[in-house]
């Protein structure tokens, strides 16, 4: 177990290093200097940046300094917003994005599992077809399109929900719906297929023969095993929810990290792009690592000393 964790940890560090190096290449490969070619940058910003990045130093020294500043979580100042560091933006945006992300995951996991169980219990019945049809639609409709459709129907036509910003639970409904539908559909399909498989197992027949109530069989015996694949795809789902927040925050004008990120891309605010990318990647890679470890801890059948892990 310890060996597995340390191996995964090493892979995680290499992955992070690649991302950090990629962002460094981004910084040095932008035509001219990313900082002084821009009209909107004023003298103070320029001075701050040059002090921060040692732009006249040779590349390997710059690279070393960059690694050092990333390791100490210092992403430097923004080029477009004077007196703002990337850390300021992250500090302001991250809690909001995290809130949106957590609510989305909770909604997606709970509703997806419930939908999957119902579909599996009514296998090949009307409810099953409805639920799976809904799931395929959920996977097929991109979240940004769902978001605009929701705004048009619920905010413009019916006027029952506020169209944008992030200040009350009512404001959360549409962004969370738009963001959670895709992951929910994926979880529902996965839960359904593993539930169907688990329900044919001998120990379920045994439980039934014992006279346990169907309710108990599903929740105490079947669901535990049916949920393992859901845990394995949590990493991928987290990544898709996280990238989803970029557009959703943009569309709903939610002042989260994703909105700053998209703005920085449109304004070519390189330090913000680099800082947010490194931060997002570190966050995601850490989450993937934790999901992997959690999977091993949850399922006693997983053996860690197996070579190659395949």
């Amino acid at each position: 177990m310890l060996k597995y964790i340390s191996k995964r940890f090493a892979v995680m560090l290499v992955t992070l290093w690649i991302i950090i190096t990629l962002t460094f290449i981004l910084m040095v490969s932008v035509p001219g200097s990313p900082f002084n070619s821009d009209q909107s940058s004023n003298e103070t910003i320029k001075a701050n940046l040059e002090a921060h990045y040692n732009l006249d130093a040779p590349y390997h020294i710059q690279y070393f300094n960059y690694l050092k500043s990333v390791a100490t979580f210092d992403f430097g100042p923004s080029i477009k917003q004077p007196n703002q560091t990337v850390n300021d933006l992250l500090g302001r945006g991250f809690p909001i994005s995290l809130e949106l992300g957590i609510v989305t995951i909770v909604v997606a996991v709970i509703s997806g599992i419930i939908l999957g169980i119902i579909a599996a219990l009514r296998h090949n019945g009307f409810i099953d077809y409805m639920a799976m049809g809904f799931a395929v639609l959920g996977i097929s409709i991109p979240n940004f399109i769902l978001a605009t459709l929701l705004i048009q129907q619920l905010a413009v036509n019916l006027d029952i929900l506020p169209p944008a910003t992030w200040s009350s639970p009512a404001h959360m409904i549409m962004p969370v719906l738009a963001l959670a539908t895709g992951p929910m559909a994926i979880i529902a399909r996965l839960t359904r297929s593993t539930m169907l498989e688990v329900l044919t197992q001998d120990y379920i027949k045994m439980a039934r023969a014992k006279g346990l109530s169907p309710w108990k069989i599903v929740f105490k015996h079947a669901l535990r095993n049916a949920l393992m694949p859901v845990v394995t795809i949590m990493g991928t789902l987290l990544a898709s929810i996280l990238t989803g927040t970029f557009v959703i925050e943009q569309i709903f004008a939610i002042p989260g990290m994703g909105k700053y990120f998209v703005e920085s891309i449109n304004q070519r605010d390189y330090p913000v792009i680099m800082g947010t990318t490194v931060f997002y990647s570190a966050f995601l890679i850490l989450m993937l690592f934790l999901v992997d470890i959690a999977y091993g801890l949850l399922d006693p059948r997983i053996k860690f000393h197996k070579k190659g892990g395949e």
Partner: protein
């Protein structure tokens, strides 16, 4: 117990009279004939795919979409980028079948140009993924041992990279254009395909027919091409049909955050992004058509992929 034993000994094989037996009336020759016509793997898969109504609906939609992407613009008297400001936001009518957008451009024409871009991006990304994935996964799985170990370590690391973040980063560096978007989508996109190919090759290379081929002295490259790949085609095709919609989604997503195809091209993502403002003023058609086609194309590829997965899986063969 005892009487039964006696019966048994009384009728030991040599003592059983012949007239106790009779030929079963079934004609021997007839019993040996195969009731169903013999079908090749692909014929059988196709037969099962045709039975899947949803998958066929998807296939039909995609064929139609492909035809419209080629011939659609010819049907329309308007050009993609001709602006006609007095005709801004015309609702769908006999003159403008899908209406016009904020610059008075014909949405019908732009939709089919968008189909060209989206399908091209999706298909190219899938094709490149397959090519790299087959080479990488094939070598990794076939060679095994140290080679496999190193190649898989690289895959493991690439797999951990957040896909869309890398794509965004690359596009910021390379600048968005049709070719850079395809490059960015495939730089880490091939990893999934390589894993699938490797898994298949690992499994198939231990079968007897491969051993037989080896014992004839067949070269490795020929074994990979003639034995291993044809037999792992099923999962590869399924993965391909699922790569296309994710590439189409990624392209639309990139357009949305300002890194999509640039003018004069118009992709569905660009069209949807352009009409975000329009939706608040009630000009629904500017968003509806690109949104509908993105969603339905993804739907079609997804159901086709699901159908193919069932049809190509030999375990589900009936």
């Amino acid at each position: 117990m005892k009487p039964a034993n006696e019966v048994k000994t009384a009728h030991s094989p040599s003592q059983i009279p012949d007239d106790w037996f009779s030929w079963k009336d079934k004609d021997k020759g007839e019993a040996e004939t195969v009731a169903r016509p013999s079908l090749s793997y692909w014929q059988d898969a196709w037969r099962r795919l045709v039975k899947n109504k949803l998958a066929m609906l998807g296939l039909a939609f995609l064929v139609l979409l492909g035809l419209m992407a080629i011939f659609g613009p010819i049907l329309s008297p308007y050009q993609v980028n001709t602006q006609n400001l007095p005709n801004q936001y015309q609702p769908p009518s006999a003159e403008y079948w899908f209406g016009t957008d904020s610059a008075g451009r014909d949405v019908f024409t732009r939709t089919w140009y968008g189909a060209r871009i989206s399908l091209f991006v999706g298909l190219m990304a899938a094709l490149i993924d397959v090519t790299i994935g087959i080479i990488w996964g094939g070598i990794s799985g076939y060679k095994g041992g140290r080679t496999d170990n190193i190649m898989m370590r690289i895959i493991e690391i690439l797999y951990g990279l957040p896909y869309l973040l890398v794509v965004i980063l690359l596009l910021v560096v390379l600048g968005p254009s049709l070719s850079t978007i395809i490059i960015a989508l495939t730089v880490t996109g091939w990893v999934g395909m390589a894993r699938i190919v490797r898994g298949q090759v690992l499994q198939i290379k231990n079968y007897e027919f491969v051993l037989a081929s080896k014992s004839f002295g067949t070269k490795s490259s020929r074994i990979i091409r003639k034995n291993l790949l044809p037999n792992s085609m099923g999962p590869i095709i399924v993965q391909m049909t699922l790569t296309v919609p994710s590439a189409i989604f990624a392209e639309a997503f990139l357009s949305f955050i300002g890194l999509g195809i640039q003018a004069p091209y118009a992709s569905w993502g660009v069209m949807a992004n352009d009409s975000l403002g329009a939706i608040l003023s009630g000009n629904w058609w500017t968003l509806f058509f690109p949104a509908f086609f993105i969603s339905f194309t993804m739907f079609a590829f997804n159901v086709l992929g699901d159908g193919l997965q069932d049809a190509l899986d030999p375990k589900l063969r009936k």
